[in-house]
């Protein structure tokens, strides 16, 4: 995989994430108890043997730069290659939902020009998977395609994804929105570096568009192929997606696949102490990272680092982010409690099963 460099397009914003992205972007959204969404493409690239990764940062870049730093956690603090932070542009309308804004690539064209690698693997930063990209490269080389993109089959919750129409393996059309059973783009593709450079140059006049918007008219001239990914891969566009795809991890098969021992998901390390369970604690079907202290009851939920669950407190079907303190007897159900919230003793917070209540981040 030393013939491939990575490009993570983390400058994707949407209005559908509510308060969760007031202060951060989707790429740096906390996920799975200790990770951020960007950890998944970053780790997948490194685990696939890619050692040069450019990350196009979002406009609100503080949280993502804080997180990735010099790339040490991913072994990307290297002399040769390593992590390149590529500043992204300001979006006009965030709800346009572009993942691969041409302008972002054009602005950072030097990153692509200076590399000797013949191929570029491009992904978004809002898809959770543990994908081995070397399979994709192999396929791409076998078919000799110009672009090979990755898709899987949409389920009923995947409404916000981009669909593709194919003729055999050839992609003929890109459509917005999918229904269950449709082929849905996983926002991940491989392309030769020279072609990507050419495309950016050809379409420089309309670089406010998404790469796939401008390519749509070229599908008859250009060999764009689709590669089906069989493993778990789900993209997050809305609060509902976030909630549901988080809870997917409570399925042991998904947990085992995403957190494969052979291809570990890497993230910024903090020295958290193992979690302490106090007498009277009761935890069922939940994901608990290090650094928590649990005296109450937690069920069907995901906690993040440094969460304290007081005596008699009850957490059900909820996501409690980093450093929250739930006072004795507090009751949280169907909710997302963003980081650093202190929930006073006895407080009750309940959302509905259809729509989780969001308690926004506290500035602590």
């Amino acid at each position: 995989m030393d013939r491939v460099i990575g490009l993570i397009a983390a400058n994707f914003a949407t209005d559908e994430m509510g308060e969760l992205t007031d202060e951060r972007t989707i790429a740096s959204l906390p996920y799975g108890g200790r990770y951020r969404l960007v950890d998944f493409p970053l780790s997948n690239m490194v685990n696939s043997g890619i050692t040069t990764v450019g990350i196009i940062t979002p406009y609100k870049y503080r949280s993502i730069i804080d997180h990735v730093g010099a790339g040490k956690a991913w072994g990307l603090d290297r002399k040769n290659g390593g992590l390149f932070v590529l500043p992204g542009s300001v979006f006009g309308i965030s709800s346009s939902g572009s993942r691969f804004l041409l302008r972002d690539i054009r602005r950072n064209i030097v990153y692509l020009m200076r590399s000797p690698a013949p191929y570029v693997l491009v992904t978004s930063a809002n898809t959770v998977s543990n994908m081995d990209y070397s399979e994709l490269l192999k396929r791409h080389l076998e078919t000799g395609a110009d672009i090979t993109l990755v898709y899987n089959i949409a389920d009923s919750d995947d409404v916000h994804r981009t669909g593709i129409k194919t003729d055999g393996e050839r992609v003929t059309e890109v459509i917005h929105g999918v229904s269950a059973g449709d082929k849905a783009f996983l926002d991940c593709f491989i392309i030769s570096r020279s072609l990507l450079l050419k495309i950016v140059e050809w379409y420089s006049a309309i670089d406010y568009l998404d790469l796939f918007e401008v390519l749509e008219d070229d599908f008859d001239k250009m060999d764009v192929r689709a590669y089906m990914y069989e493993g778990y891969a789900r993209s997050i566009f809305t609060v509902q997606d976030y909630f549901k795809r988080s809870m997917d991890l409570l399925n042991v098969d998904v947990y085992d696949e995403i957190f494969s021992k052979d291809a570990p998901v890497m993230t910024k390390v903090q020295d958290s102490v193992p979690t302490k369970y106090v007498k009277g604690a009761s935890v069922k079907n939940s994901l608990i990272p290090a650094g928590c202290v649990i005296a109450g009851s937690v069920e069907d939920s995901i906690l993040f680092r440094g969460v304290t669950v007081g005596k008699g407190a009850v957490v059900k079907n909820s996501i409690i982010m980093q450093s929250c303190v739930l006072g004795d007897g507090a009751c949280i159900e169907n909710a997302i409690i963003d980081r650093s919230n202190v929930i006073r003793a006895g407080t009750v917070i309940k959302g509905s099963a259809e729509e989780a209540f969001i308690k926004e981040k506290s500035v602590n």
């Binding site: 956690a73 957190f259 369970y277 007498k279």
Partner: protein, 384 residues
């Protein structure tokens, strides 16, 4: 080349820790897992970093591979420095042959060149197998204030315990007047913690003199300290009052681990002051299954618990199967208790397995703690 440092640390990590039996069969004692995610050497290394001592020589000898790879570049403790940082110092060959480290003093003697490279005023000598949090700067300040040649960190122990330690008798100004290794009838209860600050010049002279003494065991406690005292050097004690433990035996390892689970443990790992750093292999959050039940436990990342765990330390990547029961035990990283198995009052080594339906340990509080070495499988019906 000299890169002048005020104080550097020499960390003795070469001992086997043979009284830990099966736990140190394959690894040196400083590399033994403790507290769910730590290795014993984390505590000394973290103390160095938290005390702003950025140059640490780690002396290894017994089964060093795991220790060496664990320490790596020292980045986990922010000890990957351009000048200084952590250096692993194993025994080495010279033009005249080369020798194993014959004792604690000899290990330092053989690395005088390393010390000279940094030309420090003071040398801090530490053991890599003690559990404690300590600000070495305070001890160094005391050393400087006393204009001492050697300062020995001490703690007050009970009279009964005193005969297990090197015991120091001091005058009104805390200057050492007498030092006795493991006295039968102690006349003081100030016990040496095996933590020394030497003025470098005195250390160097003492080590060179000791190296030519054919009767010496080349040990700080047995030889260097008594000789310095006899020669009229200025030896002082530094009184330490926090938690300190040499988990040298299976019962003490077990007891210290169980104490972590108390509501107010003596050694509070959760305290934010002086954080303990460790080299972490990133593991996912642990998962407790629908029928899992965990109380009074420490649980590390990457573990999966489908059965019941009570009053135990479950380290990273442990597995407790459905219907399995774990109590009053320590599961080291990667230990597996398969479905329906029972583990009570036991220590399971790294990646060891208690097979489905098998039993390890006994509820009887007078029974010995059951110990399973690293990667050992305990079968159903089979003895350990």
């Amino acid at each position: 080349m000299t890169t002048k440092k005020d104080c550097i640390a020499m960390l003795l990590a070469g001992g086997q820790g043979s009284r830990l039996g099966a736990l140190t069969r394959h690894i040196a004692k400083p590399a033994v897992s403790f507290g769910g995610k730590y290795r014993i050497i984390d505590f000394s290394l973290s103390n160095c970093t938290n005390s702003h001592i950025d140059t640490v020589g780690v002396l290894t000898q017994y089964r060093p591979y795991q220790l060496n790879s664990y320490i790596g570049t020292g980045s986990a403790w922010d000890l990957d420095k351009g000048r200084g940082g952590v250096s692993i110092l194993p025994p080495y060959a010279t033009e005249t042959g080369g020798e194993w480290y014959k004792g604690t003093a000899d290990a330092i003697y053989q690395n005088l060149d390393y010390i000279d490279m940094y030309d420090p005023e003071y040398v801090l000598i530490l053991s890599g197998d003690h559990l404690y949090r300590m600000d070495y700067q305070k001890m160094l300040q005391s050393h400087i204030n006393n204009n001492a040649d050697l300062t020995i960190s001490v703690m007050d122990v009970s009279y009964e315990e005193a005969s297990r330690f090197g015991i120091l008798t001091v005058d009104d100004e805390d200057r050492v007047t007498k030092f006795t290794e493991k006295p039968k009838e102690p006349d003081s209860t100030l016990a040496s913690m095996g933590i020394y600050i030497f003025s470098k010049k005195v250390l160097k002279e003492a080590l060179i003199a000791d190296s030519t003494d054919p009767d010496s065991e080349h040990d700080f406690g047995k030889n260097i300290i008594p000789n310095l005292l006899q020669d009229g050097h200025r030896l002082f004690v530094y009184r330490f009052s926090g938690f300190w433990k040499d988990v040298g035996t299976i019962p003490s390892y077990h007891e210290t681990s169980m104490d972590l689970l108390e509501p107010n443990p003596q050694f509070d790992l959760l305290s934010d002051e002086f954080p303990v750093m460790s080299r972490e292999n990133i593991q996912p959050p642990h998962y407790i299954g629908p029928e899992g039940s965990v109380e009074e436990c420490f649980v590390g990342n990457g573990s999966r618990i489908f059965g019941t765990a009570r009053h135990s330390v479950l380290s990273i990547n442990c597995y407790v199967g459905e219907g399995a029961f774990v109590k009053d035990s320590v599961l080291m990283p990667g230990a597996r208790v398969e479905s329906g198995a029972k583990v009570v009052r036991a220590i399971m080594g790294e990646n060891s397995v208690v097979a489905a339906g098998a039993v390890l340990g006994s509820e009887d509080p007078n029974s010995k703690i059951a110990v399973v070495g690293d990667s050992i499988v305990v079968e159903k019906g089979g003895a350990e």
